[in-house]
Amino acid sequence: MALQTKVEYNYDEEKWVFKPIGEIDIYTSNEFRDNVLKAYEQKKADLVIDGEHLEYIDSTGLGALIGLLKMLQDTPYKIYIENIKPNIRKLFDITKLDSLFIFRGENDEQ
């Protein structure tokens, strides 16, 4: 399974929403990151990763997300992750990345 990413700007929330469909792995993580960067360059705003149709992510995919987090660290913008499947959420816990990201719809939303 490859990866397709739906990109939309939500004007009400003033956030970019990315819906990866498929797998973010060593084969597709660069493509995913480039898609996000392209949108962000076009308009600087918060980034939402909607994981409803994300079936799998590997450590390189998590690495791509960390890269995006670093890009935003000196800006007022944030990355939100939502609708993530339990098997993928588990990887954030294992790698202790759960404390770095904001999971929307969970208790730690700020």
């Binding site: 399974m1 797998e23 792995d25 060593i26 084969y27 799998y56 590997d58 450590s59 390189t60 998590l62 690495g63 339990p86 098997n87 990887l91 294992i94 790698t95």
Partner: protein, 121 residues
């Protein structure tokens, strides 16, 4: 039924084949009666182990052996190249190792192989 059977997969050490390796591993796990979460674990394990082999030196081909017995699924990944200790200590592969160590019941790294064991509950 599938006790003491072995399935072998010989595959080039290229990222193009990663999804095939992962799917094979999860198909075997599913056939063995692992639950959905455990099947996902096996898929993730296989994917991360394959990332390590992609980082290894001079490895062109992998021979992956899935050994099945009543207690466990054992995945032995043999490399025709070398898995150096310096590579395994690099920051780039830290997350892979964390994930593998957390999801596998046993992990064994040697110079030319990675062995992963997932117990059947």
């Amino acid at each position: 039924m599938m006790n003491n059977d072995t399935i072998k997969l010989i595959v080039p050490n290229k990222k193009d084949y990663l999804s095939i390796i992962r799917l094979t591993a999860s198909a075997i796990a599913s056939k063995l009666g692992f639950n959905i979460e455990e099947v996902e674990d096996v898929k993730v394990l296989m994917g991360e182990a394959s990332i390590l082999t992609l980082c290894s030196e001079n490895t062109n081909q992998l021979e992956i052996e899935f050994k099945i017995d009543e207690k466990a699924l054992e995945i032995l990944i043999k490399l025709d190249g070398e898995l150096k200790k310096e590579m395994l200590d690099k920051k780039e592969v830290e997350m892979s190792k964390m994930i593998i160590e957390s999801l596998a019941d046993e992990v064994d790294y040697s110079k030319n192989s990675i062995k992963l064991t997932k117990l059947i509950n």
